[in-house]
């Protein structure tokens, strides 16, 4: 009997089974095999099946070839009348490719390949330049990637021939990257749009196309800032443009996973080109300042979530590891278990006050945020909170920053300033719309 080897993968083979009553032969393209099982894609009907080696009577390797699917790639054409953009591909679902034979999903689409999924954007914008600093699933992105990306973005922000930047990105940490860009580059003077997809491009129901089209439409508005442009509803009708520092992925799988938190989308962009603003467009326009790149990042910055029974000695571990800043994601208004005011005292090993105190004494900046996400923290409502403030935990005068946004902002502040006071002042100050000065009912009611 012929034994198959790894050289035969991709070849067409006939597999005859050990069957008593009738002869059964499967003709298929050999996908892979182990000592136990071989996997075929059947030639007649395209189904993938697995056959146990022990059930096989005979294998015949045929001299036939099958044509495999290949990804298309688009050469961009130039149209001088349209806004010029730079397209930056960084990976993510929007840049995945399914191997049509094995079903393996790989992150391998080049920017040209992504553009080929949505050729109509070339009637809206002129892609002047394509960049791809890295191609990653977004959960693998770390601060050095933000630094690389911010350098490229900065390069084109100061290039007068460019009107805007579109970045395709995995959705999981898209808002983190958006925040990093917002704080690493001051005075952003052009639209920098982050676009992702919740359905992969192999499907006819690929949602990334609409997101790309709406982002392209929005470029001509010349509104500076870092924005997330994703589906605004479960329908394929419009995208919302949300300030990235106020956007958060709130659903694991829906197209409209991104919502504005403690804020509103600045506008809705419809597929037919219509744009409906929620905020006054004129206030969003450029103030003509020059962009400044300052992309240092303190990697020893942590985000800790508080919960009943949480062990405060985790802070000691961070102290030991040399951390410089900690964002605590507290309950409610920004609460942390202190056990100070209750009649029935919380056992000492669950009390956070002493540990926070120890951290601040070591020079670590500890800032409170809320796991409610919506609303502001407040350190003055309950007596318990004063113990945290006394221990050095910062409530920053009732800020409404998302915990993840506070984390990135702190990472940047820790490198930008030396003095604790300067760091705190920077954290208190609204840099990129991450701290709003007021909240109206719609922010919450229309968000979810």
């Amino acid at each position: 009997m012929i034994k198959i080897t790894t050289k035969d993968i991709g070849k067409v083979i006939n597999v005859t089974l050990n069957s008593e009553k009738k002869e059964i032969i499967y003709k298929g393209n050999l996908i892979e095999f182990t000592d136990e099982i071989i996997k075929l894609k059947l030639i007649d009907n395209g189904y993938n099946i697995g056959i146990l080696q022990k059930d096989i009577k005979k294998i015949e390797i045929l001299d036939e070839k099958v044509s495999l699917g290949k990804i298309t790639s688009k050469k961009t054409k130039e149209n001088k009348d349209l806004p010029n953009i730079v397209y930056i591909g960084t990976g993510g679902t929007i840049g995945t490719h399914v191997d049509y034979v094995t079903g393996a999903v790989t992150m391998c689409r080049t920017p040209e390949e992504i553009i080929s999924t949505t050729p109509e954007i070339e009637n809206i914008i002129n892609i002047k330049k394509i960049e791809s600093p890295f191609i990653k699933a977004s959960e693998d992105i770390y601060y050095k990637d933000w630094q690389k990306l911010s350098e490229i973005v900065y390069k084109y922000l100061i290039d007068d021939t460019i009107d805007g930047i579109i970045i395709t990105h995995g959705t999981d940490t898209l808002s983190f990257t958006g925040s990093a860009l917002s704080f690493m580059i001051e005075n952003i003077n052009k639209p920098v749009l982050l676009v992702g997809a919740q359905r992969s491009p192999d499907r006819a129901s690929f949602d990334g196309s609409q997101n790309l089209i709406c982002a392209s439409i929005f470029i001509k508005e010349k509104i500076p800032g870092v924005f997330t442009v994703m589906h605004g509803s479960i329908n394929d009708d419009y995208c919302e443009v949300i300030n990235s520092v106020k956007s958060r992925k709130m659903h694991t799988s829906r197209r409209d996973a991104f919502k504005a938190i403690n804020s509103q989308a600045i506008c809705k962009v419809y597929l037919d080109g219509k744009i409906k603003y929620n905020l006054d467009k004129e206030n969003l326009k450029n103030k003509n300042k020059k962009p400044i790149l300052n992309n240092f990042f303190e990697e020893k910055t942590a985000l800790i979530k508080l919960y009943p029974n949480s062990d405060p000695s985790i802070i000691d571990w961070y102290i030991e590891k040399g951390y410089k800043g900690i964002i605590l994601e507290g309950t409610g208004l920004g609460h942390v278990p202190t056990g100070q005011e209750d009649k029935e005292k919380l056992p000492a090993e669950y009390q956070w006050v002493l540990h926070i105190k120890k951290a601040t004494e070591k020079g670590i900046v500890v800032i409170l945020s809320s796991q409610c996400l919506f609303g502001r923290v407040n350190g003055k409502v309950y007596a318990n909170l004063r113990y945290i403030a006394n221990a050095g935990g910062e409530y920053l005068d009732s800020h409404d920053m998302l915990p993840e946004v506070a984390l990135i902002k702190l990472g940047i502040a820790l490198k930008k300033f030396n003095k604790r006071e300067d760091i705190i002042n920077y954290m208190k100050k609204n840099i990129s719309g991450e701290i709003t000065d007021k909240e109206v009912p719609e922010y919450y009611e229309e968000s979810i």
């Binding site: 009738k22 009907n45 146990l52 699917g69 191997d99 050729p119 006819a204 196309s209 329908n235 829906r254």
Partner: protein, 641 residues
């Protein structure tokens, strides 16, 4: 037209079959109920989506005008919270495959002697007509190489697949299709029968038998549309044509015969064209708006209003061909028009053989003949098209006319109301399939196979024997019950719960059906669990009067706690007045002390106890009278001590 009896052997008729049967389990890739929504029920949400043509493997985006239009189509999906979730709206990855549906497909594989695969992968089959929100249908191969024996010979089963049913189209407009999502995701068994059938009757016989196998599992859906058959037909000199959507067994022979006639007619036309030395068509579109300047035809004038032009295609020496009947009441012209409708945005065409008609008069026809100096045996086609689309209209018409030289074409056709068939699409050689990336492979382990084996239902003959000999059913009820998909549950109820077989079969086959006809009950709600819960109620047959069964059952289906309540409330029939007297006496004796100390005042306590013991079956007045009497008797007795 050929009307003589068809000699199938002489014709070399070969037919294959594809049967699609919905299963009565939850949906294939989520936990939603497989329930169809009744008409006129408002959806909980309407979801709007678009699908994109995915570039072909060679990277082409070259689309016909029609395909361009399809690309812009808006799909409206009616979403019902009762039978949909985010999975059907393509907003959540699929959950793992429904195990019950998998088991039923294994049972059907066993019953058709098919070889079950060891490992199989859920595949995505691309579908972009909107009927699948995701743009693909999920499908998995279960088994291959089966067979069934018939008196006319062995029929091979090519393969058995398990797939998700598509969404149900409820309204089609030019740029918009509305689908109901209720049907999307219902498990569908597809059984493919090899083309081993050689007469229409054999096809009917096989379809009927396979249908019986499906139903014998007791886990199939009932009602129109729950089973659908596609038939493959070819004859000598013809080609394989797939006919979709035959829902009714009885119409199968008629559909096949009409298709044979169509194929024979096309073969004949091909020969006639050769005889007339016509060897190809080369069309040229001529704009003829001026011909219709003063025409009264509504169709013509409406077309002009829509900014369409009239175009003429001259067909030399073609007179009479387009008017040829190729199927009863269907002409070659209709075939061409139907093709044009599918491939372009046009609604149809006019041809000389059917004119004058539709408000187009002899005058216009003569003008055309004169203006273009047509010969006596020349023919023509008139279409109303936009300037932009006329080139593709020309291409489509020319292509189809030139294919007349090939005779019959391999294609997929749909059955219309007269059992003729209409062009649907060209026969896709192999649709684009790739593995579903969100699911793990299905492995048919020994454990899974043996648990399915245990549930293999009785064969039809075994069933009949059991019903007649053991259950003592009449031959008429046996015939009906053995073919019903209630059969497995019927057997379970008779054997395990000792329900009277005749009573139960009348209840299932007649009472329920007529109640459903009167809209008193939705048969979709009558699940196996409901039936078992109801009939397993202790002594149900003794407690419940026969004439109350159906009404109580109907209420039970809607509210399972109803049965308990009903039985308690109606228990009084079990107590006679004599029983009551005895119960009262017992209660008094149990509470003798109280009676002696409290005397007549004890009546309240006694009454309360009695009423609860008799489930409030008696009038309070009656109890009070008897109780008073008995208390007095006791007190009297006590005095004497």
């Amino acid at each position: 037209m050929i009307t003589k009896n068809l000699d199938y052997k002489e014709l070399g008729l070969m037919c294959g079959l594809e049967l699609h049967q919905q299963l009565d389990t939850n949906k294939l890739f989520c936990n939603c109920r497989s329930k169809l929504i009744k008409e006129n029920i408002k959806p909980d949400k309407i979801i709007l989506r678009k699908l994109r043509a995915v570039s072909s493997e060679t990277g082409d985006f070259d689309l016909t005008a029609k395909e361009e239009q399809d690309k812009k189509k808006l799909f409206k999906y009616h979403f019902y919270n009762s039978c949909n979730c985010l999975v059907e709206s393509d907003s959540q990855p699929p959950l793992s495959i429904n195990q019950e549906a998998l088991k039923i497909s294994l049972i059907i594989s066993f019953l058709t002697n098919s070889s079950i695969l060891n490992t199989s992968y859920v595949m995505r089959k691309q579908v972009i007509d909107g009927s699948n929100v995701s743009g693909f249908q999920r499908t998995i191969m279960i088994s291959t190489d089966g067979y069934l024996d018939f008196d006319f010979g062995k029929v091979r089963i090519d393969k058995i697949l398990l797939e998700e049913d598509a969404a149900r189209a409820i309204e089609r407009k030019d740029n918009e299709v509305t689908y109901s999502l209720d049907r999307l995701g219902i498990p569908l068994i597809e059984l493919v029968v090899w083309h081993d059938m050689h007469t229409p009757d054999q096809v009917k016989q096989v379809a009927k038998y396979v249908g019986q196998i499906f139903r014998s599992t007791g886990k199939t859906k009932r009602g129109l549309g729950s089973i659908r058959q596609d038939i493959n037909i070819s004859i000598k000199e013809g080609a394989r044509v797939e006919i979709k959507g035959c829902q009714d067994l009885e119409s199968i022979p008629e559909i096949i015969n009409r298709e044979i006639i169509r194929q024979l007619s096309l073969i004949e036309i091909k020969k006639e064209l050769l005889n007339k030395k016509i060897s190809s068509f080369s069309l040229e579109a001529k704009e003829i708006n001026n011909i219709f300047k003063n025409c009264d035809s509504k169709i013509v004038n409406n077309s002009f209003k829509e900014k369409k032009n009239a175009y003429l295609f001259v067909l030399p020496s073609f007179k009479g061909f387009l008017g040829k009947e190729i199927q009863p009441n269907r002409r070659l012209g209709s075939e061409l028009a139907n093709f044009l409708k599918i491939r372009t945005t046009l609604k149809g065409l006019f041809h000389l053989d059917e004119l004058p008609n539709y408000g187009i008069t002899e005058k216009e026809i003569n003008n055309i003949k004169q203006d273009f100096s047509l010969k006596e045996n020349d023919s023509f086609i008139i279409v109303f098209s936009s300037k932009e689309e006329i080139d593709s209209v020309k291409m489509v018409l020319e292509d189809r006319l030139n294919k007349l030289f090939l005779g019959v074409l391999k294609e997929t056709r749909a059955v219309n109301l007269e059992f003729n068939t209409e062009y649907q699409r060209s026969l896709s050689t192999s649709s684009r399939m790739y593995p579903e990336t969100d699911l793990s492979p299905v492995v048919f382990t020994k454990e899974i196979l043996s648990s399915a084996k245990k549930e293999i239902p009785l064969s039809l003959n075994e069933r009949k024997k059991l019903y007649i000999e053991k259950f003592k059913l009449s031959s008429q009820l046996t015939e009906k019950m053995s073919l019903s998909n209630y059969a497995p549950i019927f057997e379970k109820l008779v054997i395990n719960y000792k329900i009277n077989p005749t009573f139960l079969s009348v209840f299932l086959l007649e009472d329920l059906i007529s109640a459903s006809r009167e809209n008193k009950i939705d048969l979709e709600d009558v699940s196996e669990k409901i039936l078992i819960d109801f009939f397993s109620y202790k002594d149900i047959e003794k407690i419940l009067p026969k004439n109350k069964f159906l009404t109580v059952f109907i209420s039970f289906v809607n509210n399972p706690s109803f049965l308990e309540k009903y039985i308690l409330e109606n228990k009084k029939e079990d107590f006679s007045e004599n029983d009551l007297k005895k119960i009262i006496l017992d209660v008094i004796l149990e509470n003798k002390e109280v009676v002696i100390t409290q005397k007549e005042r004890a009546i309240g306590l006694i009454m309360g106890r009695v009423m609860s013991k008799t489930n409030n079956a008696f009038d309070g007045k009656l109890i009070s009278e008897i109780a008073k009497n008995e208390i007095l008797k006791i007190l009297e007795k006590n005095k004497s001590f």
